[in-house]
């Protein structure tokens, strides 16, 4: 299906991640440190990189930066750190998502799948339908249960931005830059208000959103499988 590069210095974790991803049909290669990962990355096409943050030598953070210099491949990070500041730093450096150890295998597979579909989707039409919602970019219209939903230009821009990278986490700063063009003068509160109203229009239970998820103190994520 898709080739995945798994990078972790801990052999048991490599084995667990490999088994889980191979079981759902992915083709997995592993590397035990950053150097090896970069070498393998040079010689092959990958649809996804899964990397640990804490590694001796080139750590995960540095690995993300080096990969980003040459490729836009989706990157899913494994980390024991739970501090939001660290996660924001990781995402701003170019990672697409993270899973906090100890993680559930189902969660890992789901996150990896979401990021991989993005690469697959490049060939076919972009994902423009989720749950009860359909988006028609040409007409700039959004329908829910077949009925037209009125979105403000900002809400529409936010939705399209989130749909552009299904499964990935957008930091507040990344979203503000993408939608407003600047982080100056626009606060996270503004973002929150727009997200709140977007959810009320598109989600069936806005208090427990399925599609447009909050990543607490980090940002937002569009989850294509709900």
């Amino acid at each position: 299906m898709s080739r995945v590069l798994v990078v972790d210095d801990e052999a048991p974790i490599r084995k667990v991640v490999r088994d889980a991803l191979e079981r759902v049909g992915h083709d997995v290669e592993t590397a035990s440190d950053g150097e090896e990962a970069l070498a393998r990355f040079e010689n092959g096409e990958f649809g996804l990189v899964v990397a640990d943050w804490n590694m001796p030598g080139i750590d995960g953070f540095e690995l993300v930066r080096r990969i980003r210099k040459r490729s836009g491949v989706p990157i899913l990070m494994l980390t024991v750190r739970s501090e939001e500041r660290d996660k924001v730093r990781l995402l701003d450096a170019g990672a697409d998502d993270y899973v906090t150890k100890p993680f559930g295998v189902a969660e890992l597979v789901a996150r990896a799948g979401a990021l991989l579909r993005r690469t697959d989707a490049r060939a076919g039409p972009a994902l423009l339908a989720f749950g009860e919602v359909e988006v028609s970019p040409d007409a700039r219209t959004v329908r829910r249960r077949g009925k037209a939903v009125h979105l403000t230009p900002t809400e529409y821009a936010l939705l399209i931005t989130l749909l552009g990278k299904p499964g990935a986490v957008w930091t507040h700063r990344q979203l503000l830059t993408a939608v407003w063009g600047t982080t100056a003068g626009v606060s996270n509160d503004t973002l929150r208000v727009h997200m709140g109203s977007l959810r009320r229009k598109l989600e069936s239970d806005p208090d427990r959103p399925r599609w447009i998820r909050t990543e607490p103190w980090v940002g937002y994520r569009f989850t294509p499988e709900g």
Binding site: I13, V16, K101, P102, G104, R192, D207, R208, R213, P216
Partner: protein
């Protein structure tokens, strides 16, 4: 200025010597004689200042008349023109004497100021090269004694408690402590003639309006201005030393915090990695071999172990002081949203009601820590109330406080146990069957208190528990 009287006989001698010399060369013109006598006046005034200068001028006029104006060796004057000449001579002599004395005095003043400045500069260099208090205090009195040309020096420094104590003194120094107190309390200086000769001076040492100590010099020959200069320098040196000390302490604290933080990160990594691997292996095994009771049990236990490790790490972080809050102003609604999103899984079996009425109210807290604290409230509500019942999350804004509340429809906690459950590892007998470590509420309370709030449990209206975080309301 010492032995000042010697100028008078000296001036007399100078005039006499000039007369003697002039008499050796007879036939000199009157004008030459007058000029040479004026020279003697000038030198007397220069060397011995104005009194002897005036004496020399008067004497010179007298001898000019007596020895050189005809008729010689009388004070009578033959030629009326010479009366005018003599008068002009006297006036010139007095003026020259006066000017010469003034010039000399100015020169001496400038010289003294230069000396003071030089010693102040040396003193400041010496103070600046001392980076710690002990070595500064060790040499300060000797340096001050040289700079102030005095017999005894004492330096008193104010302590944390507001009292002033002797920090350094020359051996055998006796001072009046009442004057030290006065200088310390009121900032008033005192100076008076000393029994050791010179001046005794008591000066407050301050930096701006803040007093740091008192400087005492006894038997001082230097000027008071010099002493004041020394006091200012001393104030600066002490302040600089204090800042250096604070900077060193801050550096040390930072280094140790950093080390703790790194250690904890390593510990977290070492504990979580094997658990993650084990849990993943069991999950993969279930996926391949199909679910079994034994495998399911192993997985459940793995999850519990993960949760406990997380809670233990949190307790260690809180106790180590690494988890200092980084406060920012956020809206209460953001915290609720974050907590529901992060701990939502635990609420799966319940119906959730979020009341957004007052969610705009602002609080100044570490958002992540408050999310964690509220999350423990949600988990608690989910664990101790029957599935399918409603859990309500509310934000209540009061004029100066903001309350985050979680209400459940469980059995509630009896009033007598509502404080006890915040103790570590305390679990009520009735809830033994529900998995947990007894750490959640204690962690939550620590987190809330670190952020300036309070956390309490109360009875919810209609049964159940009200979990309430109360925070000071922030002004945007």
């Amino acid at each position: 200025m010492r032995r000042r009287w010697i100028g008078y006989p000296a001036a007399t001698a100078a005039v006499a010597l000039t007369v003697g010399l002039l008499k050796l060369f007879p036939g000199l013109a009157d004008s030459t004689i007058a000029l040479l006598l004026l020279l003697a006046v000038f030198l007397s005034a220069w060397l011995w200042q104005s009194g002897p200068g005036v004496l020399a001028a008067i004497l010179a006029t007298a001898v000019f008349n007596f020895f050189f104006l005809p008729p010689l060796y009388t004070f009578t004057i033959q030629d009326p023109r010479n009366v005018a000449a003599l008068f002009v001579f006297l006036v010139s002599g007095l003026l020259i004497g006066r000017l010469s004395a003034v010039a000399r005095r100015r020169l001496e003043e400038v010289e003294a100021e230069r000396r003071d400045l030089t010693s102040l500069t040396r003193l400041s260099e010496a103070f600046l090269s001392d980076t710690n208090r002990e070595s500064l205090l060790g040499v300060v009195v000797d340096r001050l004694r040289n700079a102030l040309q005095c017999e005894q020096v004492a330096l008193w420094i104010g302590g944390e408690t507001g009292t002033v104590k002797e920090a350094a003194a020359t051996p055998g120094t006796r001072i009046r402590e009442d004057l030290v107190e006065l200088a310390w309390r009121q900032g008033s200086s005192a100076s008076f003639g000393s029994e050791l000769g010179g001046t005794d001076i008591y000066l407050p040492v301050s930096i701006g309006v803040q007093r740091t100590g008192v400087l005492v010099a006894r038997g001082m020959r230097s000027s008071e201005r010099m002493a004041e200069g020394c006091a200012v320098l001393l104030g600066l040196a002490l302040e600089r030393e204090r800042f250096l000390r604070l900077a060193r302490e801050a550096e040390a604290t930072k280094a140790s915090e950093q080390m703790k933080s790194t250690l904890l990160a390593t510990l977290a990594h070492d504990l979580k990695t094997p658990v993650a691997a084990a849990r993943g292996a069991v999950e993969n095994w279930i996926a391949e071999a199909g679910a079994s009771e034994k495998a399911g049990l192993a997985l459940e236990e793995m999850k519990r172990l993960s949760r406990r490790i997380q809670e233990l790490m949190e307790v260690v972080r809180l106790d180590s002081g690494v988890a200092q809050p980084r406060r920012e102003i956020v809206q209460a609604g953001e915290i609720v949203e974050a907590a529901v999103s992060r701990f939502g899984d635990a609420l799966e079996g319940h119906s959730l009601l979020v009341d957004p009425a007052a969610s705009n109210a602002a609080v100044a807290v570490d958002p992540a820590q408050l999310t964690e604290a509220l999350g423990h409230g949600l988990e608690n509500a989910a664990a101790y109330s029957p599935k399918g019942t409603r859990i309500e999350v509310r934000v209540v804004a009061e004029p100066d406080r903001v309350k985050l509340q979680v209400l459940d429809r469980g059995a509630g906690v009896s009033a007598s146990d509502r404080e006890r459950v915040f103790e570590r590892f305390v679990r009520l007998p009735a809830s033994r069957a529900i998995p947990g470590t007894g750490l959640g509420l204690s962690i939550a309370r620590s987190l809330v208190q670190m952020n300036g709030g309070t956390l309490s449990l109360a009875g919810a209206p209609g049964g159940g528990t009200l979990f309430e975080i109360s925070l000071p309301r922030a002004i945007r």
